[in-house]
């Protein structure tokens, strides 16, 4: 007995982590998956009911709005964060004075919760006393900025706040990537007569492919999961115009007591994340094997 323990001690020590994750991650996902195939309402029922919940989900107007919003948000959030992140990283890479201070300023929103961020932006974007009043008082008397309460535009306020929170993170990833490139490569290109723009556009940015990939995965992941920011900023409103899948899932589960339907929506989210993450993990693992 003692011998066995001594021989297998490492595995015994690893067991709690593996056990907890098996149960709380994989087991729970399987449970959610199973429930999505049942007709559960307030309480889970274990009788199989088929794919009815998925049909119901994709026929629901609210879910379709949520998916639409997710696509709009993800596209804008990705493009703006990456462009902004790259510009800031390249500019900061030019031996800038006070680089540390600037970096700290660009990244501090990452330390705040989306609830804090959302509360601040809600006040700034507030149509009566916020940014609109600022411009009116500056003399632009006809300036209106009512996106927060405008059905068509409210989703873009979430983009504004989301970009504000995450662009600095992309900047940090690219800055780290640019700094890891050997100086010799840049020097050699400059001797060959390449100007700074060419060096970045033709040589350095193509080398940043893994960083692009990482930023893409992380940002898509953040946007699929976005929940807090919407709760704090718009609560899915006005009406249901800014609903997103994560909000749909919790509302369906805990306010509408449609457990089966919400499990189906959770599984759709899970599959969307898995479609992005599994290739990513695979490529990371392969890269590690090669090196």
């Amino acid at each position: 007995m003692f011998n066995w323990l001594e021989k297998n001690l490492p595995k015994v020590v690893l067991a709690p982590a593996v056990g907890l994750i098996s149960w709380f991650v994989y087991g729970f996902i399987l449970w959610t998956c199973y429930i999505s195939f049942t007709n559960s309402k307030i309480l889970p029922k274990y009788e199989l009911w088929g794919v009815g919940q998925y049909f119901k989900l994709w026929a629901s107007r609210k879910w379709l709005i949520a998916v639409d919003n997710l696509l709009i948000f993800t596209a804008l959030f990705l493009i703006i964060c990456i462009i902004l992140g790259i510009i800031l990283a390249i500019f900061l890479d030019q031996k800038i004075r006070a680089e540390g201070v600037l970096r700290t300023i660009y990244l501090y929103p990452m330390a705040l919760s989306f609830i804090v961020t959302g509360t601040a932006w809600k006040w700034i974007l507030n149509p009566t006393l916020g940014i609109q009043k600022l411009f009116v008082d500056w003399g632009f008397e006809n300036f209106t900025f009512d996106w927060l309460v405008n059905r068509e535009m409210a989703i873009y306020t979430i983009v504004i706040a989301g970009v504000w929170q995450s662009a600095g993170f992309v900047m940090a990833l690219f800055l780290a990537g640019l700094r890891s490139v050997e100086d010799e490569i840049v020097k050699a290109a400059k001797i060959d007569g390449a100007n700074l723009f060419t060096v970045y556009w033709k040589i350095l940015l193509p080398m940043m492919r893994p960083v692009f990939f990482t930023s893409f995965v992380i940002l898509v992941h953040i946007s699929i999961k976005s929940y807090d920011l919407i709760v704090a900023l718009t609560q899915g409103g006005p009406g249901i115009s800014t609903t997103m899948p994560a909000l749909y899932m919790t509302q369906t589960a805990f306010h509408k007591s449609q457990v089966g339907l919400s499990a189906a929506s959770a599984m759709m989210m899970f599959m969307a994340v898995a479609a992005v993450i599994i290739p990513y993990l695979y490529s990371e693992l392969r890269r590690e094997n090669v090196s």
Partner: protein, 300 residues
């Protein structure tokens, strides 16, 4: 002729110097422009929290308060002192502390042990075990909310701080394991082998050899976990309500509660109070914070 060439060359040099200087100015201009975009909300929050409602209505977002007025901070932290409906952050701030400290400790400890086994006591298939754990970093938590709510109910710890400690400890394990595993992988195995030959056992090697050199990664992990758990809203709002709620949930409730008059100064003071612990950690240990962010991302 040659003189001519020289002067034109000098002119050219002069010209390129000027364009260079303009380029530098442009660089700084853009960088400062964006810095003000990032600073703007924080500035607005602080300024608004120090104004009276009267001043808020009269001025704009940017106007500086005529005098520093900390009243709204007092209201946000300790309430107005009358009974029903008086919500304030103090008790929830302590809830969050009581939740964060044990959850950070447990997840960091389990992650350190797992990372140690996965790198220094390798076995067949350990890579798959790592991948198995790593996947937990990425799942959308919506996929586990329903069974978690039921499990906490069955265990009798729903709507309690203990329940939230369990939830955060468990879902922190994939991240903490990732951090420690990537750190220990870079520590030469010879160190461990030599100790093993000298007869040191599993725990002795960990506590005498690895732990003393783990300070940087412990700091990274603790900061990461602290920030994540302090800022969490999804778990907090799903598994707790009323008195057991953590601070982010309380902040959201405070801001959303529709009393007759919206007090933006109190809202902003509350938001700053809820954000200040992580902000302080960020300012004091930004280097480690960024390292956690980028290593959590790049390598996972």
């Amino acid at each position: 002729m040659s003189v001519n060439i020289n002067t034109s060359y000098k002119q050219l040099e002069q010209k390129s110097k000027i364009t260079n200087l303009m380029l530098r100015w442009f660089l700084y201009f853009v960088l400062i422009l964006f810095a003000s975009y990032f600073i703007f909300p924080l500035y607005v929050m602080i300024v608004t929290s120090l104004k009276t409602m009267e001043e808020i209505r009269q001025g704009t977002l940017l106007t500086w308060p005529s005098q520093l007025n900390f009243e709204s901070w007092g209201v946000a932290w300790g309430g107005r002192g009358y009974g029903a409906g008086d919500t304030f952050l103090r008790p929830y701030f302590w809830n969050s502390i009581k939740m964060v400290v044990p959850a950070v400790f447990f997840s960091t400890f389990i992650g350190a042990m797992s990372g140690y086994v996965l790198t220094k006591w390798r076995f067949k298939g350990d890579k798959w075990v790592f991948l198995f754990l790593l996947f937990g970093c990425f799942i959308p938590y919506q996929a586990i909310l329903l069974p978690m709510a039921r499990t906490l109910g069955v265990l009798g710890i729903s709507n309690s701080i203990i329940g939230l400690v369990v939830v955060h400890s468990v879902y922190g394990i994939p991240f903490t394991t990732l951090f420690f595993r990537n750190y220990y992988v870079s520590i030469p195995n010879e160190l461990v082998k030599a100790a093993r030959i000298d007869g040191a056992g599993f725990f002795k090697i960990f506590f005498k050899i690895l732990l003393p050199i783990s300070a940087p990664i412990i700091v990274v992990t603790v900061i990461w976990q602290f920030t994540q758990i302090w800022n969490d809203f999804l778990f907090g709002s799903t598994f707790s309500f009323g008195e057991a709620a953590p601070i982010q949930v309380a902040l959201n409730n405070m801001v959303l509660s529709s009393t007759s008059v919206k007090e933006y100064n109190v809202d902003m003071a509350s938001a700053i109070i809820a954000g200040i612990p992580t902000l302080i950690v960020y300012v004091l240990a930004g280097k480690y914070f960024i390292r956690g962010l980028t290593s959590g991302a790049v390598k996972g």
